[in-house]
């Protein structure tokens, strides 16, 4: 994201005296350019120019040789006399004694000295210190120590004025080196949203700063006078035969030749400094100038070595199988969708990926004297796709992706050519190619009712405010035809404007875009706070409330709710013992999973809750009582049919989409293992068991107003003999509860006999009756009867109970199993089930005869249904 050095910004817009980076960042954030970072002054304190008066080389025991120097740091900083115990070398003069380990300087050189009190990047505070037998009263600095990086020429250790980092610089001892080297500059890094490409330049940011503060802005693009060309230069052919979405890859291509540039010339110190502050590396005059103009105006430029370029230039899509070595010396296999710049070298060769990176074959080198400068308008989508495809997010591509002012190319090449002439002695060719210049189109005009901003924003804007705000951002505002807006005579005067956005604002396309600009410029802080009065809703839906109740019921029963990621490995289905045809294997698979070994989405909650249980045990839990209410899915029927953009799909289209969607529901699952409570003065904690799991399923269902019926059933991942199938009243299977299979217990390192339950909560909720009908409360006396039936082991208690209920009929109030007995008295393979039955009539007191008849019906029904015999 762009870095804005304050002094550079100040060249285009007035900055108040002493404006800090923080203040500038705050101002910019008000108009929507968010602060990403603030870089303060890199160096503070007495960093000065010093002249090395004398030095002696002193070899050390460690093999190093150090320089003991007498340095003149200016009258303000020099000590008048040497320390008599530690005299400096040479004749005694006002100076400071400094130790230096570098050897790239001699007596008489001007160097950069950080005196005690200076703070270097790190931060690293300089103090006088005793070292190598002397007191070093400061430090002679290298570029690295000052945060400037290694010597650009790769020669020097410490900085010597006139060379390397300090090329072109000179000074007197005592001069402030912070200002000299530009180390006091503050920089704001901002975040530019994708719609505001123009703000990827000093020009754009300065404009926005003016909007935020009202300070005077000077458009640097308008300061460049583009001379009329005396004819076309290098021939350029725009021949895009495969535009993306109908937009040609290149709409304008300006080429400008500059010849006779001194290859030894360097960019001026101020330009290099600005590049560094903006986060770029100075390289050579030609490259630096193209980068500088790009940062300043926002138009990416490319310089070709004219000696290597073979005209004509063609802008086309890459050929199948075509290859290109880019500037970073990496070979790139081009995609036929890549837009390339090609020349006639070797007949037809790519010399750059348009808007992304140039090629090595025509790269400017240390010997380059003649260049062809390119400034073009490339399609944002084409550039974005190429940059992503080749993983080359270059400075150029970042700008093209967001859109570059189509009026800039000629201005930018002219400016760059001027700088090459000024600092490199180049000659700017009077000819200039401008392919596609005629097709340059600004954004289309937009009709805006004068009252529309007020209606959308809720601030009473006047007609003048609306007009001024739009003009400030560069729009042309004309009075349009009277629209459907408020009548004449209202505060805004009614009527409408016809607004033509400036060339650098391709993002302004509709009325609402303009309204945002008006609200933004006049300040979002103007917007009042008014809570709207909704017509009144129906509250939470039954399902929404029921989900809360179910979760609350389990929490009240002592379980802790947790969350888990929905991603599962392929192997989990085998681990849980699902059969090969189990529909729960039909999971949705991710194309780009977060982890390659977890490519599927859970089809049941236990698949992800069991690993969570294991994690809890690993962290020291000794028992388990946890649950989750969350989404599960199963793969749908196939690809989703596409729908149209920006228009309502038809109902038939929506139905087709719905039919192809994965099946999604919300489940509730719980895991219970180990002791249900601690051992204490009352004895040991009771172990959770299969019955608790089934009970909790019943409680969750009851909490939402539903009833579950239970049947024994084999179902993974449960113990084959200890698993309950749970059904709603209409027979729909909605879940399972019971003890987990010992293999599963082992696979997840769970406590022995860990139990679990899983319910399709949405189905349970929908099984609850909408209205619970009342049942009359009888006040007639109660009759209690007990029954014990001997049945085969295979007969379930629920079957006996069902027979009792059916047999006794109306007068049955409740039935409750109170004992299960097996043993010699009832015989091998049989069991005795004892039930307490309460009888009561709605019509009157039950007579002994009626009770006897009920008993008889009960015994008969159990005998008929399950072959049960009343135990004597």
């Amino acid at each position: 994201m762009p870095r804005i050095p304050l002094t550079w910004l100040a060249q285009h817009v007035t900055l108040p005296e002493g404006a800090s980076a923080l203040q500038v960042a705050t101002d910019l954030s008000r108009v929507g350019l968010e602060e990403e970072a603030i870089f303060g002054a890199q160096v503070t304190g007495p960093l000065v120019v010093g002249r090395v008066l004398d030095l002696v080389k002193e070899p050390q025991k460690n093999g190093k040789t150090i320089n003991w120097c007498r340095v003149d740091v200016g009258p303000e900083h020099n000590e008048a006399q040497d320390d008599p115990k530690d005299p400096q070398p040479g004749e005694e003069r006002p100076s400071r004694g400094i130790i230096c380990g570098a050897h790239n300087f001699v007596e008489g050189d001007l160097v950069v000295v950080s005196l005690p009190g200076t703070v270097l990047p790190g931060p690293f505070e300089i103090a006088a210190r005793k070292t190598y037998g002397h007191v070093s009263d400061g430090m002679i600095c290298s570029g690295d120590e000052l945060g400037l990086g290694p010597d650009p020429d790769g020669e020097d250790g410490i900085i010597v004025l006139g060379r390397g980092h300090a090329r072109g610089l000179t000074g007197e001892p005592g001069d402030d080196a912070i200002a000299l080297l530009g180390l006091g500059e503050e920089v704001v890094e901002i975040n530019v949203t994708p719609d505001r490409g123009y703000a990827f330049s000093m020009r754009g940011v300065a404009r926005e700063y003016a909007h935020a503060t009202g300070e005077a802005f000077t458009d640097p693009a308008l300061e460049v006078e583009v001379p009329a060309a005396d004819g076309p230069g290098v021939e350029v052919r725009l021949s895009d035969e495969a535009p993306i979405d109908g937009r040609p890859g290149c709409t304008r291509f300006v080429a400008q030749e500059v010849t006779g540039i001194d290859p030894t010339a360097h960019a001026p110190r101020w330009m290099q400094q600005r590049l560094v502050l903006a986060g770029m590396r100075p390289i050579s005059l030609i490259v630096d100038v193209t980068n500088y103009v790009m940062l300043d105006l926002g138009q990416p430029l490319h310089a070709y070595d004219a000696a290597e370029l073979v005209a004509p230039i063609t802008v086309r899509r890459a050929h199948a199988g075509e290859k290109l070595a880019t500037l970073d010396d990496k070979p790139r296999a081009l995609d036929p969708e890549d837009l390339v710049i090609a020349d006639a070298g070797a007949g037809d060769r790519a010399i750059g990926i348009a808007g992304v990176m140039g090629g090595a074959s025509t790269e400017v080198s240390a010997a380059t004297k003649d260049v062809v400068l390119e400034a073009a308008s490339f399609d944002p989508v084409t550039v974005a796709r190429s940059a992503r495809r080749h993983r080359l997010p270059s400075e150029a591509s970042k700008r093209f992706e967001r859109g570059v002012d189509p009026k800039l190319p000629a201005i930018a090449v002219t400016r760059a050519a001027q700088l090459l002439a000024e600092y490199g002695g180049g000659t700017v060719s009077a000819a200039r190619t401008d392919s596609g210049a005629d097709s340059v189109q600004g954004p289309a005009p937009i009709a805006l009712e004068v009252g529309a901003p007020t209606r959308l924003v809720g601030v009473e804007y006047t007609r003048e405010q609306v007009r001024e705000a739009l003009e400030k951002i560069g729009c042309t505002v004309e009075d349009g035809p009277a629209g459907d807006g408020p009548a004449e005579g209202t505060a805004d005067g009614g009527g409408s404007f016809l607004v033509t956005p400036p060339s650098w604002r391709p993002d302004l396309r509709i009325r609402e875009d303009l309204i945002e600009e008006i609200a933004r410029l006049l300040g979002y802080e103007q917007i009042p706070s008014v809570l709207p009065q909704a017509p009144g809703g129906a509250g939470l839906t039954r399902a929404q409330k029921s989900r809360r109740y179910a979760a609350r019921a389990l929490a009240e029963a002592g379980l802790a709710e947790v969350l888990s990621f929905p991603f599962v490995p392929q192997g989990v289905f085998d681990e849980l013992g699902y059969g090969p045809e189990d529909p729960r294997r039909d999971a949705v698979r991710l194309l780009n999973p977060l982890a390659d070994d977890e490519p599927l989405l859970r089809t049941e909650l236990l698949q992800t809750l069991l690993p969570v249980a294991r994690r809890n045990l690993g962290r020291g839990q000794e028992s388990l009582a946890l649950f989750e209410v969350d989404a599960v899915s199963r793969a749908g029927s196939g690809p989703i049919p596409p729908l149209p953009a920006a228009q309502r799909p038809t109902d038939a289209q929506l139905e087709a989409v719905q039919a192809a969607m994965p099946v999604q529901s919300r489940h509730l699952a719980a895991i219970l293992g180990g002791a249900s409570g601690p051992d204490s003065w009352w004895g040991s904690g009771r172990a959770w068991d299969w019955a608790d799991a089934i009970d909790l399923a019943h409680r969750a269902a009851a909490a939402v107003g539903a009833r579950l019926e239970v049947r024994g059933r084999e179902h993974a991942p449960f113990h084959p003999g200890r698993c309950a199938e749970l059904r709603t009243d209409d027979g729909t299977v909605v879940g399972y509860a019971g003890e987990l299979h010992p293999k599963v217990v082992k696979a997840f390192d769970l406590p022995a006999r860990t139990c679990a339950l899983e319910l399709d909560l949405e189905q349970v909720i929908s099984a609850a009756p909408a209205v619970v009908s009342a049942e009359p409360v009888s006040t007639y006396p109660l009759a209690k009867e007990d029954f014990a039936f001997v049945v085969e082991d295979s007969v379930s208690a629920s079957a006996v109970e069902a027979a009792i209920i059916a047999g006794i009929g109306d007068v049955l109030e409740s039935v409750h199993l109170f004992d299960v007995f097996t043993g010699d008295q009832v015989g091998e393979g049989r069991k005795s089930l004892a039930f307490a039955v309460r009888l009561r009539s709605q019509e009157g007191t039950l007579s002994a005869k009626e009770i006897g008849a009920a008993r008889e019906r009960c015994v008969q029904a159990v005998a008929n249904a399950v072959g049960g015999v009343l135990r004597a």
Binding site: A384, I527, P532, G558, L590, N592, R615, M661, Q664
Partner: protein, 369 residues
């Protein structure tokens, strides 16, 4: 022990004041010295029982000459009454003391652990989501929900996201295989807004909480799975001022204090105008108003005085069109906030703890946050 009655002779009792008075005195003395309800029971037998002086005196009244009956009756009746009264009073006194003693013997140490079954907990994210839902229900909105596996059209196209928008890339969005499935894990709850508009039309006031997914790194503040709540209000004349009003009310409900929200211009494909919303810090001095400086070391706002809460704006006309709402008739606002972020700021929770499923994290909160 109770004192022995003065006259053992069961037959003859002289009914005169000295005799009766002595019997009463003896009874009262015995009552006073009874140390338990059991002793008192014996005193009752001895002094007002059938064999007692008073009872025998009473019985012998009917044998007295007529002229003495009244005097004797009165004397014996009143005397017996005094004794009975004293008995009742002493009985109450002793019973009370005995009950106290019995209860004292039953004293237990109430500080021993009582958690036969430890308490459970809801996940604080769910509790917070409930609370957020209740706020919106309270201002008359409804809660809308939709699937986590969504189509590209609902998650992107209908929300006016450019076909080349970077958020659609495999680096940002988790897609369903195969490549042409048209499905993804929703990256926002905004598709619920589209579904709600298609199903219910306008006017519409809904909040959409739910889980969303991004191909994000997992660290102390980020997770590839997190929860959002989005609000959408569509009506004939809703403005940005209504957006600000709703955010202010929400901030007050969730964070308390005097709500101050700030909008900063931003860009989102689905809103125009768009804004980033900041809430004034609820934690440090800054909460007292714009004229109070933030604490530079504030955990919540980092010394800026503001908390970035999410994006918002006026719904883009293309979004309304996709959802079958006429943008010339209706307009409205939308906003989105991260629920984990609220929990992190409000309660100081760590993202990893929120999603890793450690029961201790939930248990700490219980069922309220």
């Amino acid at each position: 022990m109770s004192e022995t009655p003065p006259s053992p002779d069961p037959a003859a009792v002289t009914i005169d004041e000295p005799t009766i008075g002595a019997a009463v005195d003896a009874a009262l003395a015995a009552i006073a010295s009874a140390g338990s309800t059991a002793e008192l029971k014996q005193v009752r037998i001895d002094h007002v029982g059938d064999a007692s002086v008073l009872s025998r005196a009473n019985a012998s009244i009917r044998d007295l000459p007529k002229d003495q009956k009244a005097f004797a009756g009165k004397l014996v009746g009143q005397s017996k009454g005094r004794v009975q009264q004293a008995l009742a009073a002493r009985q109450a006194e002793l019973a009370e003391a005995e009950e106290e003693a019995a209860l004292a013997r039953e004293t237990v140490d109430v500080t021993v652990p009582v958690d036969r079954r430890p308490r459970g907990a809801r996940h604080p994210m769910r509790t917070l989501q409930d609370r957020i839902e209740d706020f919106f229900v309270g201002i008359g909105w409804e809660i809308a929900e939709g699937p986590e596996l969504e189509t590209g059209w609902f998650n992107f196209d209908a929300l006016n996201a450019d076909p080349n928008h970077p958020s659609r890339s495999l680096q940002d969005t988790l897609y369903v295989a195969p490549e042409d499935s048209g499905l993804l894990l929703r990256t926002q709850t905004s598709p619920v807004q589209i579904r709600a508009m298609l199903e219910r039309g306008a006017p519409l006031y809904i909040a959409c909480p739910g889980t969303v997914y991004r191909a994000d790194e997992f660290d102390a503040t980020h997770s590839p799975m997190f929860n959002q709540v989005e609000g959408l209000a569509i009506d004939t004349d809703l403005t940005m001022a209504n957006l600000v009003g709703t955010l202010d009310a929400f901030a007050a409900a969730i964070f308390g204090g005097r709500p101050i929200t700030r909008l900063r211009p931003n860009h989102f494909p689905f809103t125009e105008p768009s804004a980033e919303m900041d809430f004034r810090c609820f934690n440090c001095e800054a909460r007292l108003g714009l004229d109070h400086d933030a604490d530079p070391a504030c955990r919540v706002c980092g010394g800026t005085g503001w908390i970035e809460m999410g994006g918002c704006g006026m719904v883009h006309p293309n979004v309304l069109r996709s959802a079958g709402v006429d943008p010339e008739e209706y307009q409205g606002f939308a906003f989105g906030l991260g629920i984990e972020r609220i929990l992190m700021l409000r309660n100081g929770a760590d993202m990893r703890d929120i999603v890793e499923g450690d029961v201790r994290f939930s248990q700490h909160y219980g069922t309220e946050i």
